[in-house]
């Protein structure tokens, strides 16, 4: 017998032994452990143990491992705290003869009891299509994502005007909707409701770009005071105080600019005059009217 043939036979024997070791737990499971295939998270249950004497019990879960010495011939109680996390668990029972049996079971999320709710963005310009995203994640009391379909109500309550509600079925634990911002500025409350669970968020609808920006000139000797009309967007919402308005004056001494914030709804600035002057106004990228002064004020 050649050396190569002998080594092939040895390799074959090793493979057979490894295969037997892998198959043994399956055979033992069929013979010794009787488990429910699926249990709810946090639900205690019992495993009847056959035989007599002592054995060592192992529970291998997604987030922890438990080890206990148990008496064969009685029921083994799996505690609620041992199966709080959804996922696949393995049970191994090793007797005194060093033979082990094992089995697996699935823990699925319990009834929906928690919502994580994302409302994006926290500020949005008025009258913007598809600008608001509401996304709710459905969890059980142990924060396992509930994968079975459940109905989530999105209740939208604007500061002005009628509210509305939209029911969305959660798929794979996620319910979401997209909606337009309304034409009026102010707070909009959006709540995600699932049974008795309600999570509310607030979104601030703010004025959009300035629209019809206009200023008027009030001459006084060698100076002119320029004041805007109340600065509003195209839906009539007032731009918030602090918004910067740029005034530009061009006269024979050159160009003068002042970036001034809106205060109490209007922006105001004072320029000294040196002959005829051309004054323009802008807010961001929006241009307003122009005023021509002949310098004889």
């Amino acid at each position: 017998m050649t050396r190569s043939l002998r080594s092939r036979i040895a390799l074959g024997r090793c493979l057979i032994i490894v295969a037997a070791l892998w198959a043994l737990p399956g055979l033992a499971r069929a013979a010794g452990l009787s488990l429910p295939a699926v249990v709810d998270a946090g639900q205690a249950f019992t495993i009847p143990l056959e035989g007599s004497g002592q054995a060592t019990f192992y529970l291998l879960g997604p987030d922890h491992v438990a080890k206990r010495t148990v008496s064969l011939g009685s029921d083994l109680r799996i505690l609620s705290k041992d199966v709080r996390t959804a996922g696949r668990y393995q049970v191994i029972l090793c007797g005194s003869s060093s033979s082990c049996t094992s089995a697996t079971f699935e823990v699925k999320a319990a009834q929906p009891e928690q919502l994580s709710f994302f409302l994006h963005p926290s500020r949005v310009p008025v009258s913007t299509p598809d600008s608001i995203d509401a996304t709710a994640f459905v969890f059980d009391q142990y924060f396992n994502l509930v994968l079975t379909p459940s109905a989530v109500d999105f209740q939208v309550t604007p500061a002005n005007g009628a509210g509305f509600s939209r029911r969305v079925s959660a798929q794979h634990g996620v319910a979401w909707m997209r909606m337009d911002s309304t034409p009026h500025e102010g707070r909009v409350q959006v709540a995600a409701v699932l049974g008795k669970v309600e999570e509310a968020r607030v979104i601030q609808q703010v004025a959009a770009e300035a629209c019809g920006l206009r200023m008027k000139a009030m001459p006084n000797g060698n100076t002119v005071t320029l004041e805007t009309d109340p600065v509003r967007d195209c839906s009539g919402n007032a731009l918030p105080d602090g918004t910067v308005v740029s005034f530009t004056k061009v006269d024979k001494k050159g160009k003068s600019t002042v970036d001034t914030p809106i205060k109490k709804g209007v922006a105001r600035v004072q320029f000294s005059l040196h002959g005829p002057a051309q004054i323009s106004i802008a807010c961001g990228v929006v241009l307003g009217n122009e005023v021509a002064l002949n310098g004889k004020l």
Partner: protein
């Protein structure tokens, strides 16, 4: 032996006194008192200013200079936490412009080394003969003051209350401000590529902003990445627009296939005060015949602005940003007092620009 020791001690004493005299600026003082030409007088004066010997420098001025020591020191050493207080005179180049028997005009180009880089200052000084020496006639500084008054400031201020980190995932938070790059232009300059343009805060809250650019090669891999550093107004109030410029030294334009821009904004507390007006802006030439944009800054608030930076964007006839330049003002902006500024414009840009826009960055030591 005895006489030798005495001679040695005498010589050593004389040498030490001589060293002390030199170190105390005696040589400059002597030069100043014995300035035989207008240039020597100005050089000696600059040397004293460089050594912070303001008293001796003031003593050497021509008596016709209509000023006092305090004003001279204030002008040269700075005050009110201005950039000049963080600066020192690095060098002074002196060149004669005009001279006759008793009068002369000398141009001095002072280079100040400051905490924010070097600053050039060009003065034309009158020098007058006083017997056998020449003395500088120092121009009277124009320190404007405003009458004592109470300035009511009621501009908006924004404070931010962020999310409590102990709250659950998904808890309510406030978003970062929305900003938008409204224009971008890539240009080739000698020895570098420059990305410039404008950015707007589109939101209703203030933003702290950084603009970064990544130059990409033809295969899409990054060639170089840079940020706008101080060539931008980092804090933008709602609807405020700032120019930005990003320099890529040592990069050639033909190596760049495309540019990836990234504007990142953070929500920060801010105040709408102070408002700084930029008046009487005009294109002109400075004493060295360089193209500059000149004007005046007027702090319309009631508290001083210690350090101001002028940012200027230049546009061509199509409204495209073709250059962005900046300059720091080394005087503090006192309330209601106009302070002049000038920023350089490259010659080739000056020939093409049709319009410009100036914004001001500011820093104040006292914050509300």
């Amino acid at each position: 032996m005895k006489w030798g020791l005495a001679a040695f001690l005498t010589i050593a004493t004389v040498i030490l006194v001589g060293i002390a005299w030199l170190q105390s600026g005696g040589l400059q003082h002597h030069e100043m008192l014995a300035a035989a030409t207008p240039e020597e007088a100005v050089r000696a004066l600059m040397s004293q200013i460089q050594s912070h010997n303001f008293q001796q420098a003031f003593a050497s001025l021509d008596p016709s200079s209509d000023m006092d020591l305090a004003s001279f020191v204030r002008e040269m050493a700075g005050s009110d936490g201005s950039l000049r207080t963080y600066s020192s005179l690095q060098s002074a180049d002196v060149s004669p412009l005009h001279a006759d028997r008793d009068q002369a005009v000398v141009r001095v180009r002072m280079n100040w080394s400051s905490a924010l880089g070097s600053i050039d200052d060009v003065w034309d000084l009158h020098v007058r003969r006083d017997g056998s020496v020449w003395r500088v006639v120092w121009p009277k500084p124009a320190f404007s003051t405003v009458p004592p008054q109470v300035v009511a400031v009621n501009y908006l201020q924004w404070n931010v209350i962020g999310r409590n980190i102990s709250q659950n995932w998904g808890a309510q938070d406030v978003d970062s401000p929305k900003v938008r790059i409204t224009s971008m232009n890539a240009i080739s300059r000698p020895g570098r590529v420059v990305i410039l343009g404008e950015v707007e805060n589109e939101d209703t809250v203030p933003a702290y902003l950084n603009v970064n650019a990544t130059l990409l090669k033809a295969d899409g891999s990054p060639l170089e990445e840079e940020g706008s550093f101080d060539l931008i107004s980092h804090v933008l109030l709602p609807k405020q627009v700032s120019p930005y410029r990003i320099d890529f030294p040592g990069v050639r334009m033909d190596a760049v296939k495309s540019v990836r821009m990234d504007a990142r904004a953070l929500l920060v507390p801010a105040s709408a005060d102070p408002v700084i007006a930029v008046s009487d802006q005009a294109l002109s030439k400075d004493g060295l015949n360089r193209n500059v944009l000149k004007g005046e800054l007027v702090n319309e608030s009631g508290r001083p602005v210690n350090i101001a930076q002028v940012l200027a964007a230049y546009y061509d006839d199509l409204g495209k940003v073709i250059w962005v330049s900046d300059g720091y003002v080394d005087q503090a902006l006192m309330p209601q007092v106009p302070v002049p500024f000038a920023v350089d414009i490259p010659d080739d840009i000056a020939g093409r620009l049709k319009n410009y826009r100036v914004t001001v960055n500011h820093y104040s030591q006292v914050s509300n």
